[in-house]
Each structure stands twice: as C-alpha cells, then as structure tokens.
C-alpha cells in the first residue's frame, strides 16, 4: 500500500463518539469483522494498527516484541511532535523498554504497595471531606471539576511527590495542555518546557535538602545505585505529576455523572456502601478514559490470528474497545455496578507497563464517590446533560465542566 492512497482506503483515527457514554460506533464493527485493522492517524497522516478485542489487546500488550519507545520510526504519535524535539526528548517510564523500564519501575514500586495505599486512606478522606465542606459552605451550583475532581488527586499526588500544592494552578494548566490532541507543536513544547523548568528547580532543591517524599527517596536510591541523571528524574517527576491527577480527575467527574444518570444504581450504592469497590471497577471499565494511551511499535514481525504486524509498524491497542467487548462483558454498553466480571477491564493497561498508580486511583475514587453521595445525597446536575462539553479532543477523555447543585 502506498502513502498516497492510504487516506482514501483506511478510516481515520481517532474515531468520533456519537454518544458521550459509549465508545465510537466503529469499534463494535471492527471487533466483529477485523479485530486487527489499519487506520490513518489524523494528527500525522501515518498508518497504525488498531487492536479492538479484549483478547487481542492483552496479547499485544503482553508481547515482549512490542516497544513503547516513542523515538522509534513507526511509533504511532498522537501529537504533532517536531523531529528535532523528538530527538532531544527524554524517555519516561511509560515510553521505556526493559531493562531501563525495569530498573526505574523497581525504584518507584515500593511507593505504591498495598500497605502504603491503605495507610493513605485517612489522609485522602480528610482531603475529600475538606473539599466537600468548602462546596457546602459555598452553596450550589458549583463546577464539580474545579471544586472536587481536580483538587483531590492534585492534592494527593502533590503530597506524595513533595510538590508544593500552592503552585497547582500553573501545573494543572500545563498538564491539561499535554493531554490535548489538538494543540500546536509550539504549545505542546511550551507546556513540557514550562513544567520541566518548574520541576528542575524543585528537584535541585531536594538534591541538597531532601524531604519525606517520593522524589527525595528516588534521588536517594539513585545516589546509591545510579540509573538516572538529573534530567531523567525531572522527566520521571513530570510523568508522576501529570499521570497522577489528570486521569483520576476525569474519572471522578465522569463517574459522578454516570451515577447521576443511573439513579437506581446510585440509590443502591447509597443504601449499601459495600457495592462501592465493584462500582469503581465498572465505572473504570465503562468510561475507559485512556483509550489509546498504550501506543506501541512492533520490534519484529508479529503474527496474531493470521494477521501479520510487520516490524516497525505502529500499534494502538484500544482499551475502550476491549472493555466493551461483548464476549467478556455481556451487554457491555450498559453500566451495571453489580457486574461480576468488571475487574477484568483493561482501563489501567496490561503487561509490564500496567498503571503503577492503579490502587491509589481505586482508593481515591472509592472515597470520593462514597463520601460525596453520603454527605450530599441530593446532588444533581445543575444544567441539562445535553449542555455538557466532553473532551473529544483529548488523549484522556473527560468532561470540561460539571455544574452540580443540591
């Protein structure tokens, strides 16, 4: 196939949603007829493989012959990144392959053990309660995104990393820009440089005066057994900071909206908080906000069910499609907080790169949904659902504003 006729023969990616609560309609057709198919990336005009079934997404993400290295030719970029910038860019955990990935992940995983996550519960509860106190004091209507959704994960990740929360308006703006498909290369570059300069200063300070936080402990371990230079640590901190709040924030808003739109299921949770952990899994599955966040490039020819992905070709395993695969999740487009198999979702990815913060996210979501509807049982949308604007242009799906009242 030549570059010239790609555009006419292949569908474009990303595909458009027709309903804010459902994946693009083409996904179901692709799962049925062509679970491994090619598409053209709107941003770069280059082809990439779309992987749409639950089984195939797991197969691809579990295969050591695929790489996350975004510098390799063929990597399916979803942003305009100028060549010269790409040459200079530092790989972060998410874009590293073993053995560098293994070394860096091993420095970070003690920070995210189940024991540490459980120990964070009371502090997260305090943060959530304080934000809800402020909402109640202000009185409705409020925009839930700024009042609660962004504030909670942002406060939590700042405390974990040792980043001063008072600087949050600036790094939240950079973070939102970095998640947007539609910005210019200059805007994207400026956001990365801005955040990196901020973190560079912060990390330089921690190198001489360490605190009781993740970044300081990383610096300490790295001093004993170096795997990263100063710039690598800045890049690691950027990933943790951006990854730690943008994703959870969008899940908080969408989850609240999903429950408000399914009042009988919300009532069940209010009556029985034991349903909350299952509801969190189902909401993660249902919204699958990081649909194409697990881009890969093939390192060798890989045959899957008779289809050959050639070495050097880009691959997009789509978790929003996998998580709506009827063969694993019957009646997949229906939100059902009692769904037994919900936890089999791939919303946190799969394989060696599966989200390191997934259990922190689960705890935050459980505490937020549980506390919000217990303390404000009359919470409701302050505008008609049709007026909400969804982040169709973003790498992480969400809603821009969520006006609520009670």
């Amino acid at each position: 196939m030549t570059q010239d006729n790609l555009a006419t023969e292949l569908p474009n990616f990303p595909m458009t949603r027709t309903c804010p609560f459902s994946p693009p309609e083409q996904y179901a057709k692709l799962r049925e007829s062509e679970p491994l198919s090619q598409a053209v990336l709107k941003v770069t005009g280059k082809p990439a493989w779309l992987v749409t079934t639950h089984e195939h997404v797991k197969t691809v993400l579990g295969d050591s012959r695929v790489s996350s290295n975004l510098k390799l030719p063929g990597y399916p970029h979803q942003f305009h990144i100028p060549e010269e910038m790409l040459r200079e860019v530092r790989l972060m955990l998410l874009s590293m392959d073993p053995p560098e990935h293994t070394a860096q992940r091993r420095y970070l995983i003690p920070e995210f053990t189940a024991r540490r996550m459980r120990a964070l519960r009371p502090r997260i509860q305090e943060i959530v309660d304080a934000r809800i106190d402020a909402m109640l004091a202000a009185g409705g209507p409020v925009d839930l995104v700024s009042a609660l959704s962004l504030a909670v994960p942002s406060l939590v990740i700042c405390e974990l990393l040792g980043v001063p929360y008072e600087d949050h308006p600036q790094f939240e703006e950079w973070s939102a820009l970095m998640m947007n498909h539609d910005i210019s290369p200059e805007e994207y570059g400026a956001a990365v440089v801005g955040l990196d300069m901020y973190l560079d200063k912060l990390i330089t300070a921690k190198e001489t005066e360490p605190g009781d936080d993740l970044i300081s402990r990383f610096i300490e371990k790295n001093r004993e057994e170096p795997i990263a230079d100063h710039t690598d640590i800045v890049t690691m901190a950027r990933l943790m900071l951006v990854g730690g709040h943008e994703t959870t924030a969008n899940m908080i808003s969408l989850g609240v909206l999903g429950l408000l739109e399914h009042p009988e299921q919300l009532d069940a949770i209010k009556a029985d908080p034991d349903l909350l952990p299952g509801a969190v899994e189902e909401l993660l599955r249902f919204f699958s906000i990081s649909d194409s966040g697990t881009a890969r490039v093939a390192l060798a020819d890989i045959e899957i069910d008779g289809t050959v992905i050639k070495a050097g070709e880009g691959i997009l395993p789509l978790n929003n499609s996998a998580n709506h695969d009827e063969s694993v999740f019957p009646d997949a487009d229906t939100l059902d907080i009692r769904r037994e198999e919900a936890r089999s979702h791939l919303a946190f990815g799969y394989g060696i790169h599966q989200c390191i913060g997934q259990n922190l996210a689960r705890i935050e979501l459980e505490i937020v949904y549980g506390t919000l509807f217990r303390r404000i049982p009359g919470l409701k949308l302050a505008v008609p659902m049709s007026e909400l604007k969804f982040k169709d242009e973003a790498l992480v799906y969400g809603v821009h504003e969520l006006p609520v009242t009670w």
């Binding site: 993400l61 579990g62 992940r105 091993r106 995983i109 003690p110 920070e111 995210f112 053990t113 189940a114 024991r115 996550m117 936890r343 089999s344 946190f348 990815g349 799969y350 394989g351 060696i352 599966q354 989200c355 390191i356 997934q358 259990n359 689960r362």
Partner: protein
C-alpha cells in the same frame, strides 16, 4: 490447589494483594510474596481471579 509465583517478573500492579491479602503480600521492595502455597477452598475462586488479572501472568495454579 497449589499456587506458585515468579517474583522476578513482578511489576507490582498489586491486584493480587488487594484481592487476596491472605494469600499474597508484597515485600519492602513492592515485590509479590506468597503467604500460603495451598490456600483453603473458600479462597480458590479469588486466587483464580488474581491469576487471570495479573498483567504479567506470574501466578501459576495447579489444581
């Protein structure tokens, strides 16, 4: 049921510890450790679930 794990491949997703804390734990480095090689029958279903959820399939079960 007999359970075994391959800690060398662990990526500390932690789903096994969250779901079956009586069977799996994590050491100080965050790496999976096995608390019971032969869990009682009432835990079999949840142990099977952890094996299917492990993102690097390092939990092996023989029944």
């Amino acid at each position: 049921m007999r359970v075994s794990v391959d800690p060398d491949r662990c990526v500390s997703a932690g789903q096994c510890v969250m779901l079956a804390p009586d069977v799996f734990d994590q050491d100080e480095d965050g790496i999976v450790t096995l608390l019971q090689e032969e869990p009682p029958a009432e835990l079999h279903a949840v142990v099977r679930q952890t094996a299917s959820l492990c993102p690097v399939r390092l939990i092996q079960i023989t029944e």
